[in-house]
């Protein structure tokens, strides 16, 4: 047991701790950036789908179906190894200077998760009865105001549980970025393990960090949903 704690202390000290902390930072940055990207794209997809233009709706459906039926790891590899090779040479060189792994990981994860988010929001909006729109329009709200004050708050409340689940999924999926060489928490943990041979201790630290942030997200989400329910339960 004391051997175990000594190992743990070694992993949590000096250079090794630095590597792990840098990994955590990278994981959080990657998660935050791709979350924002995913949300922006998802909201645009929802709005495009609301236009009821046949071609646009079909395109959105194709986008969603493509991203949900291909493994996230394959999407990452397709972006990093495949699509990047089609870029003009100058752009490729420029990207290499700008930390290409990180950029491609954020883009691939963001685009992929956008498909899930847009479906969550859409099914949340669909659950609102059309009487809500009609009533708010009859009361004199314009399209934007009825959207903003009546429909969206209810839609977001409906879709919150699955949005949170998929946010946790996005956070966990950042670990896939190690396959294309992003030095995030999983990659950093492997490095520490390679230096120290303290396999058990290094993975334990990483697992606890992942678990902490995932549970934090789930807990915060549940709290937020409760609060929203209270505000709108009238």
């Amino acid at each position: 047991m004391s051997q175990f704690t000594q190992g743990l202390e070694k992993v949590l000290q000096g250079d090794y701790l630095d590597i792990i902390i840098r990994g955590i930072k990278m994981t959080l940055e990657l998660a935050a950036l791709s979350w924002v990207l995913a949300m922006v794209i998802a909201l645009s997809l929802v709005v495009i789908r609301l236009t009821n233009n046949k071609v646009a709706v079909a395109l959105v459906a194709a986008y969603v179906s493509y991203h949900r039926n291909i493994p996230t790891l394959v999407q990452l590899m397709l972006w990093y190894f495949g699509i990047s090779s089609l870029f003009p040479f100058e752009l490729q060189m420029w990207l290499v200077d700008q930390n290409a792994e990180f950029i491609f990981a954020a883009v691939a994860l963001g685009l992929c998760q956008a498909a899930y988010f847009s479906e969550d929001i859409r099914s949340g909006m669909r659950a609102i009865s059309s009487g809500q729109t009609e009533a708010s329009r009859a009361l004199g709200f314009g399209y934007l105001r009825s959207m903003y004050y009546i429909i969206l708050p209810q839609g977001i409340r409906n879709s919150l549980p699955s949005l949170i689940n998929h946010t946790v999924l996005l956070f966990k999926n950042t670990s896939l970025a190690m396959a294309i060489g992003v030095v995030e928490l999983t990659y950093a943990t492997r490095e520490v393990e390679n230096y120290t041979f303290l396999t058990f201790q290094s993975y334990l630290v990483a697992t606890l960090v992942y678990l902490f942030f995932s549970l934090l997200l789930m807990f915060a989400g549940a709290l937020f949903a409760k609060k929203l329910n209270k505000v709108y339960a009238r």
Partner: protein, 238 residues
């Protein structure tokens, strides 16, 4: 570009489909499917037991399973792969290959997700089902196995199929620990060709797409069928 895709396919289709078999280990698409199916077949009975424990009135069964489910849902699959990769050999005393590691990992990981699906199926049944069967004199276990589980499992077929799709997608992570499957095969092809990465990964993505899209359609077909059946029985009840 399409000429290139067809070139690669005609030259390497065997590697994509079955790996190096019969000159080496079985791999490729066939192994992806075997891995995913085995994972589902082993994880499913396990998850039913977990779901029964998770809905049990006794805390001593309920709490450990709840913790298990939250832990499995809270850590990335790659982490569980690495844990299995070094824990299982040290537990059983001999080395295991990439395929077995991946299979163990998927069973552990999916047992938690499938457990939640079965639990959802159990909890969405009307309370009258339990009450009626208990009133008819069936005990807890007989109620569970003859009344609740058959209905709950039938209703969760669509979710089970979409979970099978998830498993197929998760097998791609086997590539990281050199398990023989389709993503690994695609990387072998890419390493031999070197100059056509886009075409190789495009083929890989399209193959996964066709496979998973087909299964999605199957899940939707089941969903419609179950919906119809439910409506029918509601009409009879009123």
């Amino acid at each position: 570009m399409f000429a290139n895709v067809i070139d690669i396919l005609s030259q390497y289709w065997e590697l994509f489909l079955i790996g190096q078999y019969p000159h080496g280990p079985l791999g490729g698409l066939v192994n992806t499917l075997i891995l995913a199916s085995l994972a589902l077949i082993i994880a499913f009975p396990l998850s039913v037991l977990l779901a029964i424990a998770r809905t049990s009135p006794f805390g001593i069964f309920r709490h450990p399973v709840t913790v298990w489910v939250y832990v499995m849902r809270g850590i990335p699959l790659i982490m569980i792969i690495f844990w299995t990769y070094f824990l299982v050999p040290s537990l059983i005393g001999r080395n295991i290959g990439g395929f077995t590691t991946m299979l163990c990992t998927l069973v552990l990981y999916q047992s938690a997700y499938l457990c939640e699906i079965v639990r959802g199926g159990l909890q969405s049944l009307p309370a009258g089902q339990v009450e009626a069967s208990r009133a008819l004199g069936l005990g807890y276990f007989r109620t569970m196995f003859f009344i609740l589980l058959p209905q709950a499992l039938y209703n969760s077929i669509p979710s089970l199929i979409s979970q099978f799709i998830s498993i197929i997608k998760e097998t791609s992570l086997g590539y990281i620990i050199n398990a023989q499957e389709m993503t690994f095969a695609a990387n072998q092809v890419n390493n031999q060709l070197l100059v056509k990465p886009f075409e190789v990964y495009f083929i890989l993505a399209v193959t996964y797409y066709i496979l998973c899209f087909g299964l999605t359609q199957l899940a939707q077909w089941f969903e419609r069928r179950i919906e119809k059946k439910r409506q029918g029985s509601d009409l009879l009840a009123t």
